[in-house]
């Protein structure tokens, strides 16, 4: 009983770190650019697919993909920001939502057309094969790696944004872009880079996910809903909130799978509804 429970909680932690990584990117983009990035799932899928294409067509392995794939998708993010999103600045953020949603449909549709829908397998890198026998469960090395990396990246991002000078500029830019511009900071470029970084985080999560899940055109759309719920629970735009909530939601899901498996996919949304009723700005959000 205790054994099974601790197994489920550990699995919840693993899933939670994925949620954290994905919702972190969303929270950064929303917090700093006020854009609800519905293309996040598609960008996550792109990350995984680029890793797969690199391996299949060019022989580029996992470790390089972990670096190159987010870089490429990040650059694509810069282009999207420069060409599309910038034109929507100052408008209701519904427009950004619709635009990114459309982009997601286009990207997913193209990949669906080219690669079909069952997807392709991506092998676990040599170094991370096998696992540890923890007594109560068998922990694959790769999953342990996911938890560690997600935590490092999440905490690192939080630190940069909340505790450094660059982060201070970013936060100042969201509060009052005109004033910051007057101080000589190139705000548009800063926003463009921020979007690129948020998108790169999605692609990074995609590469991390590739060896666990099948690489398919629809892999993003199946997680993105949960991730949005995580961001809403944590408080739109709260970076710390998204990380803590991501992990928390993973744990709660794990617990539900233990107690009442059929409800596992709904529990996140029930939680979201309750949080919205009690604290509309989210657990970590500031009331405006």
């Amino acid at each position: 009983m205790i054994q099974a429970l601790s197994g489920q909680l550990l699995l919840g932690l693993i899933n939670g770190s994925f949620y954290a990584l994905l919702s972190l990117g969303l929270a950064i983009i929303f917090g700093l650019l006020d854009v609800v990035n519905f293309a996040h799932g598609a960008q996550y899928m792109l990350g995984a697919f680029l890793a797969w294409m690199g391996l299949t067509y060019l022989g580029i392995g996992y470790w390089w993909a972990l670096f190159l794939s987010p870089l490429l998708v990040g650059v694509l993010g810069l282009v999207i920001e420069r060409v599309f999103l910038r034109r929507l600045q100052g408008l209701d953020n519904l427009y950004g939502l619709l635009l990114t949603f459309g982009l997601a449909l286009v990207i997913e549709g193209l990949f669906h057309h080219a690669f079909g829908n069952s997807g392709s397998p991506y092998p676990v890198p040599e170094l991370l094969r096998g696992g540890f026998d923890l007594g109560f469960m068998y922990l694959p090395k790769y999953r342990a790696w996911v938890v560690v990396v997600s935590l490092v990246v999440s905490i690192g991002s939080w630190f940069v944004i909340e505790k450094t000078r660059v982060g201070a500029y970013l936060r100042a830019g969201t509060e009052n872009p005109k004033l910051l511009q007057a101080f000589g900071v190139n705000v548009p470029v800063m926003f463009m880079l921020t979007y690129g970084f948020g998108v790169a985080l999605a692609a990074f999560a995609g590469v991390m996910a590739a060896p666990i899940y099948q690489v398919t055109p629809m892999m993003g759309s199946s997680v993105i809903m949960v991730v949005f719920a995580v961001v809403v629970i944590g408080g739109m735009g709260s970076i710390l909130g998204s990380v803590v909530t991501g992990i928390g939601v993973g744990l709660i899901e794990g617990l539900t799978k233990f107690v009442w498996p059929e409800a596992a996919s709904v529990v996140v949304f029930v939680l979201m509804a309750v949080v919205l009723l009690v604290r509309p700005a989210g657990l970590f959000g500031r009331q405006k």
Binding site: Q8, N15, G116, S118, Y213, S222, G254, P261
Partner: protein, 403 residues
């Protein structure tokens, strides 16, 4: 003069009989509509490949039957029953479609069958699996060609128990299809002397992480983990079972697995798994020959059993029209039942009065990477299950079976 007159009369008479013979083929065309999932979860195992298979069948028949052209069209039912029945009505009423083919996903098949029966048109099913199609929901204008849930449960369930896999745990998609497959298989396992130790029901679609369910399956200690799900669910479950080292001590039995799934998974992950299939391209010369032609037209993808079934049923339908001398549905259905199937897919098989084609099924095991010598060399045929054992007897629930 009289000779010429007689000739003219004879010609006129001949023309008259020819015109009278025309309604042999309604609307002067035999139109076959492939209605299936073209873009969704089942598009790789059915979809554009099914359409291509139907086109091949028409071409191989010579493009014409009884002197009239054969036209094959396709549409996407998006896995939605209402879309399927709307398209079917439009096809029958406005586009002169004579037969609707494939209908992957049982809900779409059950929605179209009554529409076809009402309008006396034919449905040739390859993709769907529910036994209700030839049971309580059967129609006289339907043929169910490739497999049904009973055959899958029976093939995999019984044979795996015989091979020593006598304790089972199910991983079940939490909706009608999954539960019915689980129930069918449980019954077979128990009847064969096996034991069912438990089950986990996972939400579907929407579950991507199966580790917690797999952990429960592992804790049960069952020798066999039965996967009563399909498509992406099955693929992810198998992948993660490997990752968690579960396949070292326990074996997986996929209850609805297609060769397209194995191709997506790759042999390192899928190896050793048992499954039941109606068709394997590399079984004999005839199947190889056809499958290679198919693959040439489908970017190298070998056909699934659903796609091979579409080719077979369309060919048989055209042969029946030829033999009946008309495309009138009642006559064609009678001929389809009367003539044994004669092709690479189901040689010698006969269509039952309930509309079910009973043919041999194959229990296969997925090869290890070392055993696989060339592209798509994926299965070892463990056992050929003869038609009489592979499918259920004629259902007494089917109202149009004369007793």
């Amino acid at each position: 003069m009289t000779k010429r007159f007689a000739l003219a009369v004879a010609l006129l008479l001949a023309a008259g009989t020819a015109r009278a013979a025309d309604p042999k083929i309604s609307d002067d065309v035999v139109k076959i509509g492939v209605l299936t999932d073209m873009t969704g979860y089942y598009s790789d195992l059915s979809g554009p490949g099914s359409l291509e298979a139907a086109k091949m069948a028409a071409e191989d028949f010579g493009g014409k039957v009884l002197g009239k052209p054969i036209v094959v069209i396709g549409a996407d039912h998006q896995l939605k029953a209402d879309v399927a029945s709307t398209v079917a009505r439009k096809w029958f009423d406005e586009e002169k479609v004579d037969a609707i083919v494939d209908l992957v996903s049982s809900s779409t098949a059950l929605a179209v069958m009554p529409v076809a029966a009402e309008k006396k048109r034919i449905t040739l099913l390859s993709g769907p699996g529910t036994t209700a199609i030839t049971g309580e929901k059967c129609t006289p204008y339907n043929a169910h060609w490739t497999y049904n849930n009973w055959a899958l449960a029976n093939g995999t369930g019984r044979e795996v128990v015989k091979q020593g896999g006598n304790t089972w745990y199910f991983l079940t998609a939490d909706y009608v299809f999954g539960k019915s497959l689980e129930e069918d298989t449980s019954n077979v396992v128990k009847a064969a002397g096996g034991k069912v130790l438990g089950f986990s029901r996972h939400p579907s679609p929407g579950t991507t992480d199966f580790s917690s369910f797999l952990l429960q399956a592992q804790a049960s200690g069952a020798k066999i983990i039965g996967l009563a799900n399909a498509g992406a669910d099955t693929i992810n479950a198998i992948k993660q079972a490997n990752e968690f080292g579960i396949t070292k001590k326990q074996s997986l039995a996929g209850l609805l697995v297609f060769i397209s799934d194995i191709h997506s998974l790759g042999l390192p992950t899928a190896q050793g798994m048992y499954l039941t299939t109606a068709f394997y391209w590399d079984r004999d010369d005839a199947s190889r020959k056809w499958a290679k032609r198919f693959a040439d037209r489908m970017k190298g993808k070998m056909p699934t059993m659903v796609q091979a079934g579409v080719y077979s049923e369309v060919s048989h339908y055209l042969k029946a029209i030829q033999a009946a001398g008309t495309d009138a549905p009642d006559a064609v259905m009678a001929k389809m039942r009367e003539m044994p199937v004669n092709d690479f897919f189901a040689p010698g098989a006969r269509l039952g009065p309930d509309g079910l084609l009973r043919h041999d099924m194959y229990l296969v095991q997925v090869k290890t990477p070392a055993e696989s010598k060339y592209a798509w060399d994926y299965y070892k045929i463990v056992k050929t299950i003869p038609a009489a054992e592979a499918f259920p007897p004629v259902s007494d629930k089917c109202p149009n079976v004369k007793k």
